[in-house]
């Protein structure tokens, strides 16, 4: 009875482009997590916000870790917190902020789990200063059905640690994580918005910025307005605002896709982007905002994602070197205009880090592009793949649910080493997902 709590669930990627049914378990105790059968293929799942199918796969038991969400050990002198993998970022931050602590690397949605962040080695609002999530992880415990519980860190079992950070759950199930927290400089962030005319200007602004939060947003619709955008720069600032819990209605892959069709098309995308740009011109240059609102902008601004409806969206994120970024953005503009690509918005971030396992990291600029889906979308993405290869870019596997294996081989620099290490570590590849199958990691 205790091991029979498994159901069939249809999982969908957050971008809405890929669905499949498989067995699903939500363990709430260790005996359920372990299962008696050590040969069952499985894959851990966190909040389910990955755009690629890294947390589910055909014939693989999905072990949803959201009940493993407890704080385990706090060291106030070292500012380290050991917690379970299913703790959400909002729970982490709402606990840390009143204690004058925070975690610097936060992706945009508050219900993403800490375990998911390690598995995808995600980045935050200024990876040039803060690096990626794994840079703030001191220790992990990984459960593998045939190897048991394994502790790893940069010093102990370093190969497993390196493979697990950015390893998309393929080394086992992360059960707990010790995070290095940072002292909270102040309870608010002064966020400035500067209008820019193009990507080059934004790149210059980001390069010369010393802000704590730094990224840009651009109109990416084909046409004369392409590249017009806003550079966001946030600095910690004193404020009389009290820290208050964040109120938001949780968005999941299914609630995101409630609209039967996408409301985004060439016309609506242009109107929305123009409205954002106009609003920015009319608004104060600087606004003081709470830490949580600045860190999780998609918690309250859900319409961008929801309006893609059931049709879903396509996103590509890639990292390109500082030397190539100018040439890359120019080529990207030409590609979008030439193919009349259904692109909506584009974002730039300056990046610094070290590439690990399957993660996207290095020094350069991150380019993120969101598209609504129509007949031209797949053609555009194929051409974009070629462009990324030509520019020596790295693709973010967690943001694109269709990256073909031959493109991954050329754009994820650690994939060959990762594959060799994984095959040696786990000859049977017990941990499997659609992503691992697609990339030939079975």
């Amino acid at each position: 009875m205790t091991h029979g709590i498994v159901r069939k669930t249809c999982f969908t990627t957050f971008d809405g482009t890929l669905s499949l049914s498989t067995t699903h378990q939500r363990p709430d105790r260790f005996s359920h997590l372990e299962l008696p059968d050590t040969t069952t293929h499985r894959i851990p799942r966190g909040g389910g916000y990955s755009y690629s199918a890294s947390s589910f796969g055909e014939s693989s038991l999905v072990q949803e870790m959201t009940c493993f969400n407890r704080f385990l050990e706090f060291n106030p002198q070292q500012a380290t917190l050991k917690l379970e993998a299913g703790v959400s970022l909002i729970d982490l931050m709402e606990w840390a902020l009143p204690r004058k602590l925070y975690f610097p690397v936060l992706p945009g949605y508050p219900l993403i789990t800490v375990g998911g962040c390690v598995a995808a080695d995600v980045h935050g609002k200024n990876p040039y200063i803060d690096g990626t999530f794994a840079d703030w992880v001191n220790q992990l415990t990984v459960f593998h059905p045939q190897k048991g519980y394994q502790s790893c860190s940069r010093e102990v079992n370093p190969n497993l640690f390196a493979m697990t950070c950015g390893g998309f759950g393929l080394t086992g199930i992360i059960t707990d994580i010790t995070l290095q927290l940072a002292e909270l400089p102040s309870p608010a962030i002064a966020l400035s918005r500067k209008s820019v005319h193009g990507l080059e200007e934004a790149q210059f602004e980001l390069a010369s910025s010393n802000a704590d939060i730094a990224y840009s947003w651009h109109d990416a619709t084909a046409g004369a307005n392409f590249g017009a955008g806003i550079v966001y720069a946030g600095h910690w600032t004193e404020s009389t605002q009290q820290l208050k819990p964040m109120r938001f209605r949780p968005m999941t892959a299914s609630t995101r896709a409630k609209l039967p069709l996408s409301a985004w098309n060439r016309v609506s995308a242009r109107i929305a982007n123009s409205a954002v740009l106009l609003h920015n011109r009319l608004k104060n240059d600087v606004s003081v905002t709470g830490v949580l609102d600045a860190c999780f902008p998609f918690a309250s601004n859900v319409y961008f994602h929801k309006l893609f409806g059931k049709t879903g969206l396509r996103e590509s994120q890639f990292l390109v070197s500082e030397e190539n970024v100018g040439q890359c953005t120019q080529a990207l503009k030409e590609l979008i205009c030439e193919t009349s690509a259904p692109t909506m918005m584009l974002s730039l971030k300056r990046f610094k880090g070290t590439q690990k396992s399957l993660s996207m990291s290095g020094t350069g600029y991150l380019v993120a592009i969101d598209c609504y889906r129509n007949a031209r979308t797949e053609v555009f993405f194929q051409r974009l793949d070629q462009l990324i290869v030509e520019m020596g870019g790295q693709i973010n596997l967690s943001k694109d649910s269709r990256v073909p294996p031959e493109i991954a081989a050329l754009t994820v620099s650690g994939i060959t080493d990762f594959k060799n290490n994984l095959f040696e570590y786990d000859p049977q590849r017990i941990m499997r997902s659609e992503l691992s199958a697609r990339l030939g990691l079975l």
Binding site: V6, R7, D28, R29, S31, F71, L72, W95
Partner: protein, 242 residues
């Protein structure tokens, strides 16, 4: 004041532990596997800065050895409450089930809670505390399925009524909840005809009523299908497959 939460590491038990810890109560959390109980105790202590002790105990034994809980109590403030969100059912729980399963279901759902009540009743009477038990809408009427489970939970309901009668003139609060579907692992894989309530919501109700006595459906609308099933004529009821 200290509350003992039996079956406190997951589901409704965990939600109750969180709710009472959030209110600043000290806790002793009891469950079978210390690997589940200890992390929750650490979590509540870190999050709410309250004293929480984990205790591992197998409820499928008779009589229970309560020494570990008693020892933990020595380090805590006086006992104020006993919360028992424990229960177990089984897919093979039909009339004619094996003796081992029958005993297990009877112990965990009925005998062990009764022994806990009896053991801690004097202390709780002294502190004008609260005893909280939980059964299920499955007790509405005996069916072919969940036969031993429904019988054990019905027996527990009866024992709670006796307890309320016995302690009527004391300051003790005695609460018994009849639960509908809850979004816990017990119901995770089941296709159910009604929505599942969140354990956190039920925990809020239990906390808010901690000084009251009596029997209550939770969520309250479950009273309607419960009574409908009870009032169905036998000629119809015997044909229902649920």
């Amino acid at each position: 004041m200290t509350y003992i939460v039996v079956g406190g590491s997951s589901g409704l038990g965990r939600a109750l532990a969180e709710r009472f810890a959030a209110a600043g109560c000290e806790l002793i959390i009891v469950s079978r596997d210390i690997r589940d109980t200890a992390p929750l105790a650490a979590h509540l202590a870190i999050k709410y800065e309250v004293k929480v002790s984990p205790v591992a105990m197998e409820m499928n034994s008779s009589p229970l050895s309560l020494d570990a809980i008693d020892e933990a109590l020595d380090d805590h403030s006086p006992l104020k409450g006993l919360l028992m969100p424990i229960g177990i059912n089984s897919d093979d729980d039909v009339v004619g089930l094996g003796a081992a399963t029958l005993l297990r279901i009877s112990r965990i759902n009925y005998l062990s809670p009764c022994q806990l009540i009896n053991h801690y009743l004097p202390a709780l009477e002294q502190s004008s505390g609260v005893i909280v038990g939980f059964s299920s809408v499955a007790t509405a009427r005996g069916r072919g399925k969940n036969a031993a489970y429904a019988a054990a939970k019905s027996a527990l309901e009866s024992y709670f009524e006796s307890l309320a009668h016995h302690t009527a003139d004391t300051g003790l609060s005695c609460q018994h909840y009849i639960l509908g579907y809850l979004d816990t692992n017990l119901a995770f894989a089941q296709d159910l005809p009604f929505p599942k309530a969140s354990p956190e919501r039920v925990a809020d109700v239990v906390y808010a009523r901690r000084f009251s006595s009596g029997r209550q459906f939770c969520p309250r609308p479950w009273y309607i299908p419960y009574r409908v099933v009870q009032l169905l004529p036998w000629s119809i009821f015997k044909r229902l497959a649920f």
